[in-house]
């Protein structure tokens, strides 16, 4: 078994990153333009990495499947971005942000990476302000903060309910500047199909032009994958329709290890599923739980009456409402972390207390309006209420919102070392695509922080350390050798898909995969359920390759072919998630095994057996993947059971 070298630098936790930067190799300015770097993805991590590398003088190529780099799904993040500025003088510090993140991740993240994340968080805010990101400000003209779950300080910076949009547009503007200068060449509507490995190092990628269908190869001295998470394995999620795990999956099949795939975050406050044609789920910001109270009917007959439309929420008297979060977790109440709140909602619905087809609970603002007045509530949440009303046609000022948990974020991803390099030399992974910083559960407002930390402040250093040894590698001919071979493989893969000519649409198979995943690999997992899930996924995969129907041709814009490519990978990735979940016989963060819970139904970790990163190595088609373990050493924090009671 190959050992996983996480390459954590020497020294005290506080000094590791400084030590690394002080001793790393650099490339002189004249040589930088001789080196090509490929960045796949243009979200927060990708755009910021491409822009920063371009500014340094490297010759960058950036790829995205959307029509513009401004569209990546980072744009949809609402709440905010964390940073340890301590502007509020409320006792925040780099260490505290580090500690909260480790604890929030249920002690399954690497200390050194998380500390570096907390360390550079402050630089991110400065950088974004300098770019013209219009963060919210107080009347004195200084930056405002709000609080978020899992922290006792106010450290979240925000721009209305559109923080992700503003940060992405900031990175996009930096990227645009470099494209204008010619240091970055942007390829839009281009999807990565595979990576190219030459003599053990990643040397480029093969892409498909989504308009013409052309298969092209691109050379790079290094390749950075910033391709986001794989939540869409579940079909219904808060991810964008095009979000996919294919880039990560292709890297995995070429030898990059895939870490902790079972750590999937389920967000408790989403608008519930309304019907079979639903295409995606919409998140309602975590901030709503500051003032909204979550409840379900206490009596099963009330829940049934509401489901049948015989009663309304307002007909249920106070004493018949079960504020189950406040009941179970009096200390944190409605503000327990995401995984805890999600499981509690599922528990109520599973026992027959759900409303709206049985898959929803109430998030009620009646009490906040009584306490604060409608104006205050409107000022705080007006835009979210409006969005809710547009989607559901219910007015949340008058009737409680209906909410249910939904797949939101994937903590797992490509295994990377301290330098964010994968097990394939020259291949790096940044942002949600890697596994590195959130352990088994991510805290609110930390995804934006990690994406930008990786792109602006980590990748530009660590990639340079790698490239310093690549000066003498000439640019390779992308029409011959390994490049031509991978191109031919990709073409064969597409031809195979096009030639199935079956009867089922890609979406209908994807939906069925989603059902299997949600049913067996969702919020509450069991050994039997996971085994059953694996079996069903394998069957569905076989059916896909026999019976999928892709109309049109491969040499033109073909949306069904794009989807088929992605779903083909989801059908394999789904199985790996289930396998990882099956092997991890403990409950931690987003991974809840029903066999491993406390008497009160809380997650029960098994630190003696599972305090490691589970990194999977691909061994070939229909061969069981091999598990490698990276032991997690906690030198600076003490492992504790999380308690929110």
């Amino acid at each position: 078994m190959a050992t996983l070298d996480s390459k954590i630098p020497e020294g005290h936790l506080f000094e590791k990153w400084s030590n690394y930067k002080a001793h790393q190799k650099l490339v002189n300015p004249a040589n930088k333009r001789k080196l090509d770097v490929i960045v796949v993805g243009s979200g927060l991590a990708g755009a910021s990495a491409a822009a920063s590398l371009g500014e340094l003088g490297f010759n960058v190529k950036c790829f995205c499947y959307q029509d513009s780099p401004r569209r990546a799904h980072s744009i949809a993040a609402q709440g905010g971005i964390n940073a340890a500025k301590n502007y509020q003088n409320d006792g925040d510090s780099v260490y505290r942000l580090f500690y909260d993140t480790i604890k929030g991740g249920d002690y399954r993240a690497r200390e050194a990476n998380v500390y570096r994340l907390a360390e550079v968080s402050n630089n991110i805010i400065d950088q974004c302000v300098a770019q013209g990101v219009p963060f919210a400000r107080d009347y004195g003209g200084l930056l405002a903060n709000r609080s978020f779950g899992g922290a006792q300080v106010s450290r979240t910076f925000y721009a209305k309910g559109q923080t992700g949009q503003q940060l992405l547009l900031g990175a996009y503007s930096a990227l645009s500047r470099q494209i204008g200068k010619g240091t970055v060449k942007m390829y839009t509507r281009t999807e990565m199909m595979d990576i190219v490995i030459v003599d053990g190092k990643c040397r480029g990628i093969v892409t498909r032009n989504l308009i013409t269908g052309e298969i092209e190869a691109h050379f790079g001295h290094a390749v950075i994958l910033a391709t986001g998470g794989y939540g869409n394995v579940f079909f219904l999620s808060t991810n964008a329709m095009g979000s996919n795990g294919s880039a990560a999956w292709k890297a995995y099949k070429k030898g990059a290890y895939f870490a902790n795939p079972c750590y999937v975050q389920i967000h408790p406050t989403c608008i519930p599923v309304h019907g079979e044609f639903q295409s995606k789920l919409t998140l309602m910001s975590e901030s709503l739980r500051n003032d909204g109270r979550i409840w379900a009917p206490k009596k099963e007959e009330d829940a049934q009456a509401i489901r049948e439309g015989k009663k309304k929420a307002s007909d249920i008297p106070e004493e018949d409402r079960d504020f189950y979060l406040e009941r179970r977790y009096p200390a944190f109440g409605n503000l327990v972390p995401r995984d805890v709140a999600s499981r509690a909602a599922k528990e109520r619905c599973d026992h027959g207390f759900g409303v709206e087809n049985g898959g929803a609970v109430f998030l009620d603002f009646k009490y906040a309006i009584e306490r604060l007045g409608k104006d205050v509530v409107e000022a705080r949440y007006g835009n979210l209420f409006q969005m809710y009303e547009k989607i559901t046609n219910d007015n949340p000022y008058e009737t409680p919102m209906k909410i249910y948990p939904a797949i939101h974020y994937t903590m797992g991803g490509i295994w990377v070392d301290y330098e964010l390099q994968t097990t394939i030399p020259g291949l790096f992974a940044a942002g949600e695509a890697n596994f590195s910083d959130h352990g088994a559960n991510r805290l609110g407002a930390s995804a934006l922080m990690q994406g930008l930390a990786d792109g602006y402040f980590v990748i530009p250093y660590t990639v340079q350390n790698y490239l310093a040894d690549e000066l003498h590698t000439p640019r390779m001919d992308t029409n011959s050798g390994e490049f031509a071979k991978v191109k031919a493989d990709v073409q064969a893969h597409i031809d195979e898909l096009m030639n199935i000519k079956g009867t089922e649409s890609v979406d209908s198979i994807h939906k069925r995969l989603g059902h299997i995943m949600w049913e067996h690999v969702g919020m509450g997992r069991t050994k039997e359920g996971l085994q059953e899930g694996i079996k069903q996924i394998q069957e569905l995969r076989a059916e896909f390759w026999k019976n999928v129907r892709i109309p049109g041709n491969a040499n033109e814009l073909n949306v069904e072919l794009e989807k088929a490519n992605r779903v083909a990978d989801f059908l394999e990735l789904g199985e790996l998630i289930a396998r990882d979940a099956l092997h991890r016989e403990e409950s931690c963060g987003g991974h809840f095994r029903e066999e491993y819970q406390t008497e009160e139904g809380e997650a029960l970790r098994q630190d003696d057996k599972f305090a490691y990163v589970g990194a999977w190595e691909y061994k070939g088609k229909d061969v069981e993947p091999e598990l490698h373990k990276e032991e997690l050493k906690f030198e600076f924090v003490e492992l504790k059971q999380r308690n929110y009671k």
Partner: protein
Amino acid sequence: MEVQNLDLTLKVWRQKGPKEQGHFETYSLKGISPNSSFLEMMDVLNEQLINEGKEPVAFDHDCREGICGMCSMYINGEAHGPDDHVTTCQLHMRKFKNGDTITVEPWRSAGFPVIKDLIVDRSAYDKIMQAGGFVSVNTGGVPDGNAIPIPKPDADEAMDAASCIGCGACVATCKNGSAMLFVSAKVSQLALLPQGKVEAARRAKAMVAKMDELGFGNCTNTGACEAQCPKGVSITNIARLNREFLCAKFQD
């Protein structure tokens, strides 16, 4: 509460490629839930077409929560259809009645050529941004975020301008195919903030020059862009762009 499902007739623009002649196709759809979104209705149509062995309608979409700016349909004569302050993905079918005929067209503007069916090429927006829609700072070496206080009203106004999602509805709906609302939103956002003010004159000139070069029309202040903008970006930003541009030009 049971609601009646909708039976609809769809008149959809089909066009094989940029240089091909386009035409309308008429489809009938049955049993659409009024609670589904417009794009979910389009998904149902596509599923139906695939099952009939036909090619599905190609349309742009991604986040489906009204923020990425990818979806772009002209529905019954309005950009993003008959609801205020929403994108097509947030438009819901309850805005339509049983038996309605719905006309669905792509953005039509010389600046946004059709690629296929309802998909258009909006890369011109990126080119305008590359001409000057940024603050020229490199990563690192910037002052502390609180080094320069910014009056809250300015920050708020900059945020309102910055809420533009770059969907192209303004160009699509403008009788002149003008991109002024888009350009002015970015110019305003950055001109309002001290960080962006430094190169405001240069930015306004560069972005307007690129916009003109790319063949967008001239603003005649009809305000159609503001009325159809899913984010309600105000045309007073255009006044600010004009001011920034003219002041910059008079100083040359």
